[in-house]
Symmetry: C2
Subunit: 384 residues, 2 copies
């Protein structure tokens, strides 16, 4: 099993990007990643293009994206796992490199969503769930996560005020991230008085649909050492799936088994424990999700996620700073790009380039990315 490193990162501005098409967003992130790695396209021997389907007219986008990046006739791969697409893309790139089929791969997460109406997006998101037994009955993404929120509230006494604190924390850090969609802090009162979406979730408990791209240049150990003196190593990778339908064999909705399974694999591969993690990016598609993730990743015991949050241990200066790039709640969630965006943040941290939000002595970073309503979860552990 060869060692694999991230040697370059790029990130477009996330948000409503009427100025750029899918391929142009991909190029923005890819060209920044090349600059960051001080490489040119001939050094890249393949691409993994990660984009959730149907949001854009372009089917099978790897072909057109690879061409636009100047990478034809090199191999290219479409890899998709709903909201976890580019996190799974890293696993594929890791394998392609570790198996010695490729040496240097560009993982490009890209999504263009904002040309669709919110209603169209909700319908499409539902269809990433089970179209036979669930989405025809009108389930939407916020409705799914609202059920988790209600279950957690009922079992552990979590409150709407607790959830609002996730948004307050993440928007505070989002204000420092020039690539974020929302760069303005928000108060708990504003969250609590925002319009209802799916009880108990309100507008500001939810991340926003966005356009954007993020790119990782991933290389074999031999290549990485030649390319950069600051490689960030992929130490652990975990991936798990889950039954799609909540009505099926999911078990209690107070946690995501899929996260626990993915985390177990990732910690095992990295030979680490949750307490070893210095900085984390977790999937805050909704405020409640971040609280569940604390527990499922082992940062807090079951039911103790809100306590960890309220103790400020997940803020800068705390034991385990989480989403200090603003998270999905500030950055927006261009679904195919989100996994790579999280990893980009960790790379900044582990290279000690995070400026204002640098975690002192950060050596181990963890990114957790949920696909759809928990049918996939990826956990990646990076090490400087």
């Amino acid at each position: 099993m060869g060692r694999v490193a991230i040697v370059g990162i790029g990130h477009s501005k996330f948000g409503k990007r009427s100025d750029a098409s899918l391929r142009e967003l991909a190029f923005e992130a890819y060209s920044s990643a090349l600059d960051d790695a001080e490489l040119e396209s001939p050094a890249i021997d393949g691409s993994v293009v990660c984009s959730a389907t149907h949001y854009d007219k372009q089917r099978s986008p790897a072909g057109v994206v690879s061409e636009y990046l100047g990478l034809s006739p090199k191999p290219t791969f479409n890899v998709e796992a709903a909201c976890a697409s580019s996190a799974v893309g890293l696993r594929i790139a890791w394998s392609l490199i570790s198996s010695r089929l490729h040496d240097v791969i560009a993982v490009v997460g890209v999504q263009k969503m904002t040309e669709l109406s919110s209603g169209e997006i909700q319908e499409l998101m539902g269809r990433a769930g089970d179209v036979m037994w669930e989405s025809p009955f009108g389930t939407s993404m916020p409705a799914y996560y609202a059920m988790y929120a209600n279950a957690h509230m009922a079992k552990y006494g979590t409150t709407e005020e607790d959830m609002a604190l996730v948004t307050v924390k993440n928007r505070k850090y989002g204000a420092k991230n020039p690539q974020a969609m929302f760069q303005k802090p928000i108060t708990a009162e504003e969250v609590l008085s925002s319009r209802p979406v799916a009880k108990p979730l309100k507008l500001y408990d939810c991340c926003a649909n966005a356009d954007g791209a993020a790119c990782l240049i991933v290389a074999s150990s031999e290549k990485a050492k030649k390319i950069t003196d600051k490689p960030v190593w992929v130490a652990g990778l975990g991936l798990a799936s889950s039954p799609m339908s909540l009505a099926g064999r999911r078990g209690p909705l107070t946690s995501f088994e899929v996260t626990k399974n993915a985390a177990r694999s990732a910690y095992e591969m990295a030979r680490l424990n949750p307490t070893d993690v210095d900085v984390a990016e977790v999937h805050d598609s909704f405020s409640i999700t971040e609280i569940l993730n604390y527990e499922d990743l082992g940062f807090a015991r079951p039911g103790k996620g809100t306590k960890l949050l309220k103790s400020k241990e997940t803020e800068l200066g705390g034991k385990i700073p989480v989403n200090i790039d603003g998270g999905l709640i500030s950055k927006g969630h261009p679904v195919g790009a989100t996994g790579a965006s999280q990893l980009t943040c960790l790379v900044h941290q582990l290279r000690k380039e995070a400026g204002d939000v640098q975690v002192d002595g950060a050596k181990i970073g963890l990114a957790q990315n949920i696909g759809g309503i928990g049918m996939y979860c990826s956990v990646a552990v990076l090490r400087s």
Copy 2:
């Protein structure tokens, strides 16, 4: 670089399968593959689900398919490359195993197309091409390949009668394949008098949209030896991409550069030449494509594909039997399943289980699978 083998194969009936949903088709192929390998689901540690997008309402199908196959909570991957989806799926599985991240992977190619109208399918197929510069102008898949046919006719004097012979040959063998959509031989006169689709291509020059699934159980060398005494080894894998737009930087339409590039990599990895291949499956989406493929794979010199065909060297008993399971022209083309279907045929041959159509002494098999209008091509070389 570990050795990787195919240890089990399964194949559903291809055709209009109103009796089965996407997940049920996947199960049909997967359960036959398990039976073939004499395995049960716990032995499988992940799945690669290959399905071109938009033909079915289900987005991100790996989740629901993996659940239906009884493989949750194991990792699952959506891998897509238009008509070459499950061929690329084999490359991903090879890497996942060769990198030691997984030991035994089920590659499931599956597609459900026939609930859409032919017009809807043509529109979707166009959108696997470039939606910015080409598909809005009305290009359809037959129109694309017709341009190749016209170019080959103009340069090399290939005739409609020559092309008809591809269909006649493939339908002759399709008549012996119980899984094929069309199991009736056809005459050259019937092909030539069938209705025009895109000049010079007529109805019987074209493969048909279909529903179906095919599955490969792929394993590491250590596992393969425990599972079976007839492993079929993956000896070479080539993958290339191409500019999407014909109007772009494709070069002359008398051959597919993308096939030549993929073939070069596959032969190099397998340390073989075209003359070493005993039996081949090539992408006969249209009759003309098979003729181009002979040339691009090195079975015939440029412009000599029709000569090879007319000499009957690509029939059973010839130097290099091609598509003797009937090809896409007989089997139908459920796009996500086609790559795995081709490999299934080769495994039968290399295991000497092909009955009526067994190629004497077959040891090396090659499968070539084009994605879309040549934006991807995969070439795999198998060895008994």
